[in-house]
Symmetry: C2
Subunit: 206 residues, 2 copies
Amino acid sequence: MAAGADEQPTDRRERPNRRAEIVQAAFELFSERGFRGASLGAVAARVGLTNAGLLHYFSSKEELLTVVLAERDRETREHAERSASEDGSLHATLEQLRAMVAHNAENAGLVQVFTVLAAESVTDGHPAQEFFRGRYARVRSNLAGALARDPDRPLDDDASRTLANLVIAVMDGLQVQWLLAPDEVDMEAAFALLERLLEGASDRSA
Amino acid sequence: MAAGADEQPTDRRERPNRRAEIVQAAFELFSERGFRGASLGAVAARVGLTNAGLLHYFSSKEELLTVVLAERDRETREHAERSASEDGSLHATLEQLRAMVAHNAENAGLVQVFTVLAAESVTDGHPAQEFFRGRYARVRSNLAGALARDPDRPLDDDASRTLANLVIAVMDGLQVQWLLAPDEVDMEAAFALLERLLEGASDRSA
DNA sequence: GTCTATAGTTCGATAGAC
DNA sequence: GTCTATCGAACTATAGAC
């Protein structure tokens, strides 16, 4: 489930440019306008194609969304899951997450596409609903597992799950505030405050 | 700014039903589908009107959104700002917020309309963008003020603002997770964990 | 591989009858 | 106060020429 997922044989390399360009443009437009707010024609125009020209590469708008999400999710996963799995101290896990927060603070487009689409996905019949359900389930489970394995401060399952939900909520919630008011919200500072609270708590009994 | 805001003279009572019904239906549909995903016709149908019939009461879809947001914001504010302002201890403020979290956990529609529209509002040219910017600015400022005034543990401006951003982020971030997986996310439990972390920290030096 | 043309919807909003 | 009718625009997707 977490192993390599390069399914396509080799024809990816035959015409790599167009598909990649389209996915990049779709990423940008879904970020700027959401899925329902971005039109296929706008994506096509951004890569110098017509509506019909784009549909030569992707059979529907929904398929394009699927590819965009899978692509960006893969990159994010490589950037995060790799390291967070093995070295299981609470401190190390939080430091890795803080690095991700810092990285996000320099990539507004990436933050926005996930923030906008995740919230949009809770609406009726949204095509990304299963994607985000699965994504959160996976992230929650991974983080809870890492927290439970902390050698300095083992947590039972329930506590580690609650803590994982809390940490994820902080990251997501900061993003909305930051996207609306980047000058008033310092995501990394707020996350660092959470870290201090958690490491302070682990020094004590509770 | 917080005082009574009943501007309309008396003609509100002449035809109260229709407008209120429409606002209620619009609230539901914006919650279920977002602003861009919900059509005027769908709102109209829900109250037994046609598209044109609805536009007799609201001159545009955007005006309808404005009214829905103002109405719900007023209710939320009455439920929250009233109490959070005076009794300034950290503990009391957090307890009030936790009560709000518990209240939200029983009102999925209310949570969803704000979660979906807030995220949607970060997209280009969204009509609710200024509303949410203002709303967050106000909530941040109120909460930071309350935290700074805590008699047991005064915070400087910077620390109280960062803490306010963190607390708000927790509430918002939990909502997205909860809307997608209500059985796996206990918003009140996660918020209570944050409370324990904060009150633990206030016992120590930091 | 990309286009034009267009089918088939859906939408927001207006005009005007009743 | 609510309707029918309709306009004009935008949208997804298909068919078929080049």
